[in-house]
C-alpha cells in the first residue's frame, strides 16, 4: 500500500481537461469514467457512514457531495488505489468540521434563555415502545444497526471513525490509517476498543 498523504486545504488544481489539448483525450475520458465508477460504487455507503457520524441526513448528503467534488478536483489524477482512503479522509475532515460547528452552536444555544438544548430533550429512540415486546431473543438488521448507531455516538471520535471505516466500509488497516491520518497501530487500538465497548453495551441491552 503506497503512502497516501492528503492535504484537504490544498488549493492546487489538477488540470484534468488538459488531456484534450495534448493528444491524451482518451486518457482523460478513461479517467472520468473510472472516477464515475468509483464514486458510484462508494456513494451510498459513504452517505450511510456520514449519516451515522453526523446524525443528519441533509448534512450527510452535503458532506458526501463535497467530498466527491474535492476528490475529483484535487486528487483525480492520483492512482485509483489511493482514491478510497483519500475520499474517506476528505469526508472525515468534513464531518469533523460539522461536528465542531454543531458544538459551538449548542454552546451558544445553552446560554440563550428559553432554549432547550438537544441533549435535554428525551431521546425518541429510548422512549419508543418495542413493537416486538421483549428485546431478548436476538438483534436483527435495522434494530441492531440502530443500537450500534446509538452506541457509536458515545464512543470517542477516533474509535467511531476506526469502526466505521474498518467494519462498515471494509477498509484494511493501512487504508484506514491513511484515511484517519494516524498509524496502523492506532487504528488497531481504536478499533479494538470500539468493538469492546459495543460488545459490552449490546450485551447489557440484551440482558
Amino acid at each position: 500500500m503506497p503512502e497516501v498523504r492528503v492535504d484537504c486545504s490544498a488549493t492546487l488544481e489538477v488540470p484534468l481537461s488538459l488531456g484534450s489539448r495534448d493528444g491524451t483525450r482518451e486518457n482523460s475520458v478513461d479517467r472520468e469514467r473510472a472516477l464515475d465508477r468509483f464514486l458510484a460504487g462508494i456513494e451510498r455507503r459513504a452517505f450511510r457512514i456520514a449519516c451515522i457520524a453526523l446524525r443528519d441526513r441533509a448534512e450527510a448528503e452535503d458532506a458526501v457531495q463535497d467530498a466527491m467534488i474535492r476528490l475529483v478536483r484535487n486528487y483525480g489524477r492520483r492512482p485509483e488505489d489511493q482514491w478510497r482512503p483519500l475520499f474517506y479522509r476528505i469526508l472525515k475532515n468534513r464531518i469533523t468540521d460539522f461536528q465542531r460547528r454543531l458544538k459551538v452552536r449548542r454552546a451558544v444555544m445553552a446560554w440563550w434563555p428559553g432554549q432547550e438544548s438537544e441533549e435535554a430533550r428525551p431521546d425518541p429512540f429510548e422512549s419508543a415502545v418495542d413493537p416486538r415486546g421483549r428485546p431478548d431473543e436476538h438483534l436483527e438488521g435495522a434494530e441492531l444497526l440502530a443500537r450500534i448507531e446509538k452506541q457509536l455516538a458515545a464512543l470517542s471520535s477516533r474509535q467511531r471513525e476506526a469502526f466505521l471505516l474498518r467494519n462498515f466500509e471494509g477498509l484494511d488497516v493501512a487504508q484506514t490509517a491513511a484515511a484517519m491520518g494516524c498509524s496502523e497501530g492506532s487504528v488497531k487500538t481504536h478499533y479494538f476498543r470500539a468493538m469492546q465497548a459495543l460488545d459490552v453495551a449490546l450485551r447489557e441491552w440484551k440482558k
Binding site: 488540470p15 489539448r21 451510498r44 466527491m68 438483534l139 435495522a142 441492531l144 462498515f168 479494538f192 468493538m195
Partner: protein, 122 residues
C-alpha cells in the same frame, strides 16, 4: 478479539450492508446528481500547464524588454507611465489560462490573419 466480538463484527457489517441496499430512491437519485456535479468539475476547467507557461514567460519577457527599450528612448514621463501600466495590464491578461487555450486551439486562424496582414502591407 473473542468469538462474541467477531460475531458482532460480522452481524453489524451485514446490518449496515442491508441498510445501504435499502436506501430510498430519492436519496439514491440525489447522490447520483451529486456525483454528476462533481464530475462536471472535470469539464471546462482550464489551468495553465507547464508547457503553456513557456510562451507566457517568453511573451512577458518581450513586454518587459519593450518597456525598458521605450524607457531608454525617452519621451514624456506621463506617456511612459501609461505605457508601463498598460504593459502590466497585458501581463495580467496573459496570466489567464484561457487566452492561451485560444492560441493553442486555433493556430490556423492566426496563420491566416498573419498572411492577410502581410499581404496588406506588401
Amino acid at each position: 478479539m473473542n468469538e462474541d466480538m467477531q460475531e458482532l463484527e460480522r452481524r453489524s457489517r451485514a446490518a449496515f450492508d442491508e441498510s445501504v441496499e435499502s436506501l430510498d430512491a430519492a436519496t439514491r437519485s440525489r447522490l447520483a446528481r451529486a456525483r454528476a456535479k462533481a464530475l462536471e468539475g472535470l469539464k471546462g476547467r482550464r489551468t495553465v500547464g507547464p508547457v503553456l507557461w513557456i510562451p507566457a514567460g517568453a511573451a512577458a519577457a518581450a513586454i518587459v524588454a519593450a518597456m525598458l527599450w521605450q524607457r531608454e528612448e525617452g519621451g514624456p514621463a506621463t506617456a511612459r507611465n501609461e505605457a508601463t501600466i498598460g504593459a502590466f495590464e497585458d501581463l495580467d491578461l496573459m496570466a489567464q489560462g484561457d487566452d492561451f487555450d485560444m492560441l493553442a486551439e486555433d493556430p490556423g486562424f492566426y496563420a491566416w490573419t498573419d498572411e492577410q496582414l502581410s499581404d496588406g502591407v506588401g
